[in-house]
Amino acid sequence: MTLFFTILFYLATAALVAGLAYKIYDFARTPAPLSIPTTPAPTTKPGVAFRLAREVVLFESLFKGNLWIWLFGWLFHMGLFLVLVRHLRYFVSDVPAWLLFIQPFGKYAAFMMVAGLAGLWARRLFVERIRYISTPSDHLWLVLLLVIGMSGTAMTFLMHTDVVAVKAFFLGLMRFDIQPLPAHPGLFIHLLLVALLMILFPFSKLLHAPGVFFSPTRNMADNPRETRHLAPWAAQIEKN
């Protein structure tokens, strides 16, 4: 099993990093030929940065759109964020004080995350409009994340695994010095699904994470009368 997870995590990390890097490169190289911010929009770059920050941290547009989806979506994402930060301790040998400090928050944030996911799934199942627009993969993503969240929470609160050994395994992966992974069914499920998520990330709707930063309706400043905005392919037309 140690060998299996070793190979799996090298593979998953490579897929995630390479896949995401390619997608981000692809988004970045594609021009936005016309000025299309959804207005009213900020007129300056700092204003745009502030707008994007509100979108990413507060989900401002979603808040305007639907309070229930906002509530569950925000709980899930903020829970996930805290949980991910907490997991950093498995990847650094000396845990800094601030990371120690947030451990309890990260632990209980797991409930936020699972509650949010459950709420989102309930809406997908029971609200007619949202059931209509859901594909099988939309349901499976929620199941995947729920099982990751619940297996992790279970290991924190119910059926503990040897976290010292888990940490040794991941530090070992990073130093190319393979250490044994504890045999624990909850841990195996948790890690297997996390690896699956990492591999699928660049091929899926999870691309909304980099996508939001590249969305022209949100990341463009409203200054078309003052600045001439010309894409390279459009400039070419002018020369003909």
Binding site: A32, T38, T39, G65, Y132, I133, T135, S215, R228
Partner: protein, 510 residues
């Protein structure tokens, strides 16, 4: 008005989300452009034999040219925030009119041909082959979108269905499946200079007639000049302003403002159209070609300022795209842009909206009004989608909401706003924008107007509103046609400059 062959939606007691009625609008689609119309624009005359291959090729081409399309195809998570925001969904209950579902018509094809999971597990991720049925579905439902961008306000990733609709329509054009109404209009503007196909002499007659009417009415010689070289201002306005009611009332108003302020101005017969239907099909080159007429006239007439009349999508193209397409703006450093920009007066915004122009003059105290002249009117204001969500007026974000209202409050005493959930950035489309303003789509248009009619009814009942001002030629034409279906007088709609026209003093007050 003949009795409609469809049911008019009933006003809701509470603003609940309608239950879905799948495929209720599947049979409503616009006429397909014929060979003559298509070939005039350089598109194939009829659906080409290898349409599937060509469509996928053009799809890939657009994905490489438009970041919006690429990011929007990848980013949607089907959260549902947009599902109850489209006026066409609210009015028709057809789930394919939910923004996400409309996008999904295209996204499902994107997944099938451009993503790995869609190639390997199409069913799992909702990917579909581009079959003839799917293509027909595109034609049906992408012509039930008015590109109003209301959904984009509520999307956590800013996904704008208008961009998706434009891409789909452009692909349809390139495989020979164009829409008659829009493409016929593009042919006219390219050939004659305006969407209505009015030649220069007809314009001249009309404007002379206007001068006589205004003289009869006010006793004052207000000029409506055409093709005057050396004028200070070139006014570009939607061609509906020359002929249609109530549009022409606003044109009369623009002339009175220029007269009262003593600023020389001209219309142009070559560039006699502010509207730009190239926007609706997302064809950059077509949009540029239409816009270039204005650049050419500005250079030829040697004007110092460009002002745009009351038209929603025209203002979007003028405000947001003219600088890009034709160098008409400021800040350019390339020879093409500089040639025009050195001619234009840098003290003014280029281009300016007629409302910005009028409001500036009001603030300078250069216009005087008899507000009481509008006392027979209780006025509300309908924000037009392209002005509200795709452009701006004035110096700060949101100026596009305040300036028209400021003008109305200056020229009239009685003004009330409609429900705040239906105005400003979340305004509902009139139901006729984006290239659907054609008779065979009347069902789409009447049902799409439903949320606006609901909000209008409220202020009619509570405040006795009898005038809905708007600054869009399409809104005016659409409401004139649709208001009677909801039991309103068609004269309830009019322009902001119609109100200005009623109250402005033309004498020697200055």
């Amino acid at each position: 008005m003949a009795a409609p062959e469809f049911e008019i939606p009933k006003y809701r007691e509470f603003p609940t989300v309608p239950a879905m009625v799948p495929d209720s609008m599947a049979r409503v689609r616009p006429h397909v452009a014929n060979e003559k119309i298509q070939s005039a624009l350089g598109y194939p005359g009829a659906l080409v034999d290898d349409w599937q291959e060509k469509a996928i090729e053009e799809f890939g081409n657009l994905l490489g040219k438009y970041r919006s399309l690429k990011v929007f195809m990848d980013s949607c998570v089907h959260c549902g925030s947009c599902t109850d925001k489209c006026h066409y969904f609210i009015g028709t209950n057809d789930p394919k009119n939910m923004p996400v579902a409309r996008q999904e018509l295209m996204r499902s094809v994107y997944r099938r041909y451009f993503t790995l999971p869609g190639k390997v597990f199409p069913k799992l991720v909702g990917a579909r082959d581009l079959t003839r049925d799917v293509l027909d579905e595109w034609y049906t439902y992408f012509w039930q979108c008015s590109e109003c961008r209301r959904c984009s306000v509520f999307c956590p990733y800013g996904i704008d269905t208008a961009e998706v609709t434009m891409a789909a329509r452009h692909i349809l054009d390139t495989v020979g499946y164009g829409q008659k109404y829009s493409n016929e209009i593009l042919g006219k503007v390219n050939k004659i200079g305006n969407n209505l196909g009015l030649p220069g002499p007809a314009l001249e007659d009309t404007l002379q007639g206007l001068e006589e009417d205004v003289k009869d009415d006010t006793g004052i010689d207000v000029k409506y000049p055409l093709d005057v070289a050396g004028a200070e201002v070139l006014l570009v306005t939607p061609s509906a302003d020359f002929f249609a009611e109530p549009h022409i009332e606003s044109l009369i108003g623009y002339g009175k403002v220029f007269h009262a302020a003593g600023i020389s101005w001209t219309l142009s017969s070559y560039a006699s159209e502010a509207g730009n239907f190239g926007l609706f099909d997302g064809d950059y080159q077509m949009m540029r070609k239409v816009a270039m007429r204005i650049r050419e006239q500005a250079l030829e007439l040697g004007v110092k300022r460009i002002v745009v009349g009351e038209c929603g999508h025209a203002w979007r193209v003028a405000y947001a795209f003219w600088n890009t397409l034709t160098g008409l703006g400021a800040g350019g450093d390339d020879p093409f842009a500089v040639e025009l920009q050195k001619q234009l007066d840098p003290r003014y915004k280029q281009p300016s909206h007629i409302c910005e122009f009028t409001w500036d003059l009001i603030q300078q105290g250069r216009l005087k009004f008899d507000k009481e002249a509008n006392d027979n009117r209780v006025i509300t204001f309908h924000d037009s989608c392209n002005v509200a969500r795709a452009s701006r007026m004035g110096d700060y974000p949101g100026g596009q909401f305040d300036i028209p209202r400021n003008i109305i409050r200056t020229v009239a005493n009685k003004f009330v706003d409609m429900d705040e959930a239906t105005i400003r950035e979340v305004t509902f489309c009139c139901g006729g924008g984006g290239g659907v303003l054609t008779d065979e789509l009347i069902e789409t248009r009447v049902k799409g107007a439903f949320p606006r009619m609901e909000a209008l009814q409220q202020v009619v009942d509570r405040h006795g509103v009898n005038f809905m001002a708007t600054i869009c030629a399409i809104c005016k034409a659409q409401f004139t046609k649709v208001l009677p279906y909801y039991g309103f007088n068609m004269r309830l709609v009019g322009g902001v400059h119609q109100l200005v026209s009623t109250a402005i003093r033309l004498g020697d007050e200055q």
